[in-house]
């Protein structure tokens, strides 16, 4: 029961209380880039959940099996993690193209974008390498905790992205002052949306 509660808190904490997009600003490029239409956002959200989970798994193994025993973690983690993620995305793309063309068609175009998405690197770094975590929980995650946390974060990414895309579709037809049209107004909207998430801060002491 104790562990179940702990995992549930990690999930909610990652997804809502510390929402990666709206309360921590990680991964804003796709947030403003693909949120023009609801369909693309859905594809992107799916791809992020998928890649982020895999990336944390891979970097966790890489960190604990290779970097820590060799004693090079502190100064090689940046190039190592980004290369692991880039290679992983490449493999996933090749595998999907062969194994499941229909899934590839819906997720494929987002995969290269995700390599340079800071959300993936940030979550992998935070949940794998001790020293960055700010959520009030002791870091030094076990494998299970890292995985649950990552799933939570990626779900939070998806929720925020879809909400924002839906808002932006309505904004297209709204009467907006000329100078604010386009991105400036998108920022103001994101600001208002982020107010909602600020209200969740401190929930469950996270």
């Amino acid at each position: 029961m104790e562990t179940l509660q702990h995992f549930a808190l990690l999930l909610v904490g990652g997804a809502l209380v510390n929402n990666i997009l709206l309360t921590r600003f990680i991964g804003l490029c796709p947030f403003f880039g693909v949120s023009n239409s609801l369909d693309t956002s859905l594809g992107m959200a799916g791809a992020v959940v998928f890649v982020m989970t895999l990336a944390t798994t891979a970097t966790w193994v890489f960190w604990n099996v290779l970097l820590v025993p060799l004693g090079v973690g502190d100064f090689l983690y940046i190039p190592a993690f980004i290369l692991v993620i880039a290679a992983l995305v490449q493999f996933v793309e090749m595998y999907l193209r062969k194994a499941s063309p229909s899934l590839y068609r819906s997720l494929g175009i987002f995969l290269p974008l995700i390599t340079t998405n800071c959300a993936v690197l940030a979550t992998a770094t935070e949940s794998v390498r001790p020293g960055f975590f700010k959520m009030g929980v002791e870091y030094g995650f076990t494998f299970g905790e890292a995985l649950i946390y990552t799933v939570g974060v990626s779900l939070g990414f998806g929720i925020a992205l879809l909400t924002f895309a839906a808002l932006r579709e309505r904004l297209e037809v709204a009467p907006v002052p000329d100078v604010m049209r386009g991105t400036p107004m998108a920022f103001i909207t994101a600001g208002l949306l982020s107010f909602g998430y600020v209200g969740l801060a401190g929930l469950f002491g996270l």
Binding site: L22, T23, R24, F25, I26, G27, L28, C29, P30, F32, G33, D74, F75, L76, Y77, I78, P79, F81, I82, L83, A86, I109, P112, L113, T115, T116, N117, C118, L121, A122, T125, E126, F132, K134, V179, M180, G182, T183, P184, M185, A186, F187, I188, A190, G191, L192, S194, F195, Y197, V198
Partner: protein, 219 residues
């Protein structure tokens, strides 16, 4: 020389990475709660962008088209590691404040995007101009944003432990400016201002459309 200056100035004004190209936003919004943090973030970005522009541009004829992205990433990651370890050693307070944002400079679309779009095709001397101009354009916007947020959000600007400016006692700072929504709101107005200014001075309607240049590059 005139070409050099023209390229340099473009990064600050009409091709400003933040207000016009809308790349590298994440770090900007996140670290702009404190002026000192923003300033050092700007310096780190200028260093990484300038150095990686030089290297990418000088080896551009050796790097085949197909493997250019991994090569760029490794070059950028090496310079980011230099910044990471230097800051950890000499500026531990700032390092703690910036936290995960230092390693995230690697995936800052701005740096990879400039390597891809500019340095890979241009001679070294112009690549330096572009790197410095873009880095400076980034730093100016992030410092202005941080100054507004810190001054009006907390009522004073503290720089490396010294109090630079303080607003009078009767000013009750709205804390929301320091919270997450404040960053979005203030930046929304800054980008509207930049759009208005650029449209007026350059006489053309500057298209501000959020995108990441790398998305075409990787494919």
């Amino acid at each position: 020389m005139r070409e050099w200056i023209a390229v340099f100035k473009r990064g600050i004004s009409i091709d400003n990475p933040l207000t016009v190209l809308m790349i590298g936003l994440c770090a900007t919004l996140a670290v702009s709660t404190k002026l000192e943090g923003a300033l050092f973030m700007g310096l780190a970005v200028i260093f990484v962008l300038g150095m990686s522009s030089i290297i990418v541009s000088s080896i551009r004829s050796l790097v085949p088209e197909q493997v250019r992205i991994p090569v760029f990433i490794v070059i950028i990651a090496s310079f980011v590691t230099v910044v990471d370890l230097t800051m950890k050693a000499f500026l531990p307070d700032i390092y703690t404040f910036l936290g995960v944002w230092i390693p995230l400079i690697v995936v800052n679309c701005m740096i990879l995007g400039r390597a891809e779009a500019f340095s890979y095709h241009q001679p070294v001397r112009l690549a330096i101009a572009d790197g410095l101009g873009m880095g400076l354009g980034f730093s100016i916007v992030i410092v202005v944003l941080a100054a507004i947020r810190e001054l009006f959000g907390s009522g004073e600007i503290v720089f490396l432990g010294a109090r630079l400016i303080a607003l009078p006692e009767w000013y009750r700072p709205p804390g929301v400016l320091l919270l997450f929504p404040g960053a979005f709101l203030v930046f929304g107005f800054i980008s509207a201002l930049a759009k208005w200014y650029n449209t007026r001075t350059s006489g053309r309607v500057v298209q501000t459309d959020a995108h990441c240049t790398i998305e075409e590059g990787v494919r």
